[in-house]
């Protein structure tokens, strides 16, 4: 009880300072089927702060997607909690989602809608109407430089174009917090750079960004803080520099392998 209490004190102080926007505390989650029980999260805790890009790095099957899905309120944790701006994601999933911009693990587009209509759809789902909505859509379209895609149906869009539209629909309601699940998968260099620039711009505006990735270079270049997850637990956290020092390596990739204690499932 005392531990929980002191955590609460720390949390309240941090919130008072306005630092922690996304908090994951002692999350435990296991999936059971007839034959076996798979432990996906085994007491994972971390925080992501405003004005920072926090990267979750982990091998395949480390529990990244499960952790993020708990954050969206799609999965219920067996133990522990996840909060967004102080809202508990399992108790009030709709409230938590309203504070989030989400770029999910696998994203698809509505092939028969135009890019503009899709962005409009998601803006309306966040309760935007009238002129506010119109302005927000036009702003995000201009920000991502997708004016010429706006009124085309999304069937036949390239992977990069799809990423931009997904990004636009996740951000149209200007969420304070932005969560991306492996957003660069399948993107070419140019699209990756667009995404990176956009995330940096977003960070400068004081938003909280949390994103999971496999790609070391990207995490090293982009993230202020890195959380390394292995076997559903926090393996290490810190700036990319700190992690390298912790492992006594110069390259983040080497540090990563050393910190998770295996090179299994690492994709660069």
């Amino acid at each position: 009880m005392l531990g929980r209490h002191s955590e609460r004190v720390i949390y309240v102080r941090a919130k008072w300072w306005g630092l922690i926007m996304i908090e994951v505390n002692n999350l435990r989650k296991s999936f059971k089927n007839k034959k076996q029980t798979v432990v996906a999260l085994d007491g994972l805790s971390f925080q992501a702060r405003d004005g920072e890009i926090t990267g979750i790095l982990g091998p395949n099957g480390a529990g990244k997607t499960t952790c993020l899905r708990t954050l969206y309120g799609l999965l219920q944790a067996d133990e522990g909690y996840a909060t967004i701006d102080g809202i508990n994601a399992s108790e009030n999933p709709l409230g938590a989602r309203a504070k989030l911009g989400i770029f999910p693990d696998k994203f698809g587009l509505y092939e028969r809608l135009t890019a503009y209509e899709q962005i409009d759809y998601f803006a309306s789902l966040h309760g935007m109407t009238g002129n506010d909505k119109k302005q927000a859509i036009e702003r995000v379209i201009a920000d991502l430089d997708i004016q010429e895609l706006a009124h085309r149906k999304s069937a036949g869009f390239s992977q990069g174009q799809r990423m931009k539209v997904t990004l636009a629909q996740a951000l149209v309601h200007s969420p304070q917090n932005f969560v991306l699940d492996e957003p660069t998968r399948g993107l070419d260099v140019m699209s990756t750079r667009v995404l990176r620039n956009y995330l940096n711009k977003f960070k400068e505006k004081g938003h909280c960004i949390l994103f999971s990735s496999h790609v070391m270079q990207e995490v090293a270049a982009l993230c202020d803080r890195v959380i390394i997850v292995a076997d559903g637990k926090l393996a290490a956290q810190g700036t990319p520099q700190e992690l390298c020092e912790l492992a006594g390596e110069t390259q983040l990739e080497e540090a990563f392998v050393k910190l998770i204690g295996s090179d299994e499932g690492v994709a660069a």
């Binding site: 999936f31 997607t65 899905r69 969206y72 799609l74 999965l75 219920q76 999933p93 709709l94 409230g95 989602r97 309203a98 989030l100 989400i102 999910p104 693990d105 696998k106 994203f107 698809g108 587009l109 509505y110 092939e111 028969r112 809608l113 209509e117 409009d120 759809y121 998601f122 309306s124 789902l125 966040h126 309760g127 935007m128 109407t129 997904t166 629909q169």
Partner: protein, 387 residues
């Protein structure tokens, strides 16, 4: 409300832009009236006209009078068959064998065996064979009557009891062919029209990875399901409205008076039909979405949904075999509506209480399915199977 409007608008936009699914949905509405008219015309023709029958006679020369009577009834010798029908009648091979001793046996008052040989299992021959039988029997009876008359006996003694048939059915119930077909097609239309749209909106969206994005939004799953349900049910409703209005026009081109029947879809009938069918469109959409969300892949959903067609086709069929129907059959969805439609086509007055009960029960079933789906979309099993 803003959310729900956006959800519904998006579903409708997608449904109306999916040209192929929409075509399938509405084609039933456009095709069925044509099928109904074509089939009823064909059936009326069969019932009213006496087309020529070509028979292979053996020993026609022994009974010229009987052959003449058959000829008067348009039952002709195979030798006279026109070239175009020759192959057909050769294959059908209807034989009438008259014995050599015909004239002599007739004179001596012995029994004469005339043989009619054909494939009795061949459906298209049923009517011609019946006609041949009738004509031969008539010929035989006329000779018998003459024999009695000659002996000074009143032929009335052969018919001590005469059955007088009085048909109490409404004139419109004679158009049973049309109403049976229309009833079945309307049920099918309600069940099949929205099918591809419902599968696309459920299993299709999951396969295209758009469902996860939607589930991550601050939207109640119940509203997601409801929007998809309304969109798909609306398409089905549109399809049956087209079917009904086109049939009303099309039936005008069929001359039902030939078989002493009348069939018209007036405004109250159409209204009552719509009241009983629209809830079925919702039930069908709910069942299809349920299957769609339950299935692991688009393909699986498609094959399972195809089995749902059995519901509207089997239930009316099963109803025909139940002789004493228990009350609850009138209330249960699908069978209730099917019975109400049957009454409507027979021209019987509408039982509003029964209609209200079955409508209510149908919507209870729809609500149950929607709640089950909304719950299922929150379940971990569904979330886990997203990737």
């Amino acid at each position: 409300m803003i959310q729900f409007k956006a959800l519904l608008l998006k579903e409708l936009k997608e449904a109306f832009r999916d040209k192929r699914a929409l075509m399938v949905a509405l084609s039933m509405g456009f095709l069925m009236p044509v099928v109904i008219v074509a089939m009823s015309k064909f059936m009326i023709k069969q019932a009213v006209e006496t087309p020529a029958i070509y028979v292979k006679f053996t020993g026609a020369e022994y009974a010229p009078k009987m052959v003449k009577q058959l000829k008067d009834a348009n039952i002709l010798a195979f030798a006279d068959v026109p070239e175009s029908d020759k192959k057909l009648w050769d294959k059908r091979s209807v034989e009438v064998i008259i014995p050599e001793t015909f004239a002599q046996d007739l004179q001596e008052g012995k029994r004469i065996d005339v043989i009619l040989r054909a494939d009795y299992s061949e459906k298209s021959l049923a009517a011609p064979l019946r006609r041949i039988e009738r004509e031969v029997r008539n010929y035989s009876r006329s000779i018998g009557y003459k024999r009695l008359l000659v002996r000074g006996i009143d032929i009335k003694i052969l018919n001590p009891v005469q059955l007088q048939e009085q048909d109490t059915s409404q004139p419109s119930s004679n158009a049973m062919i049309i109403s049976l077909m229309l009833g079945l097609y309307l049920l099918m239309g309600a069940f099949v029209s929205g099918q591809s749209i419902a599968v696309d909106a459920s299993a299709g969206e999951r396969e295209r990875n758009v469902l996860e994005m939607l589930l991550c939004q601050p939207v109640k799953t119940q509203n997601i399901v409801l929007a998809k349900l309304i969109s798909s049910a609306l398409i089905a409703t549109l399809s049956i409205s087209i079917m009904l209005s086109l049939t009303t026009i099309a039936v005008g081109f069929v001359d039902l008076s030939k078989i002493g029947a009348s069939f018209s879809l007036d405004f109250p009938t159409v209204g009552a039909l719509m009241i009983s069918l629209v809830p079925l469109c919702f039930l069908a959409a709910a069942l299809q979405l349920f299957v769609g969300f339950q299935a692991k892949t688009f393909k699986e959903a498609q094959s399972t949904v195809a089995m749902l067609v059995m519901v509207p086709t089997m239930i009316p069929l099963a109803l025909m075999f139940i002789e004493s129907k228990p009350d609850w059959i009138e209330w249960v969805p699908v069978s209730g509506q099917s019975l109400i439609m049957e009454d409507l086509f027979k021209g019987l007055p509408i039982e509003w209480a029964t209609l209200a009960t079955t409508t209510l029960l149908t919507f209870v079933a729809v609500t149950g399915l929607v709640m089950a789906m909304a719950k299922r979309l929150q379940s971990e099993k569904v979330i886990q199977s997203l990737s």
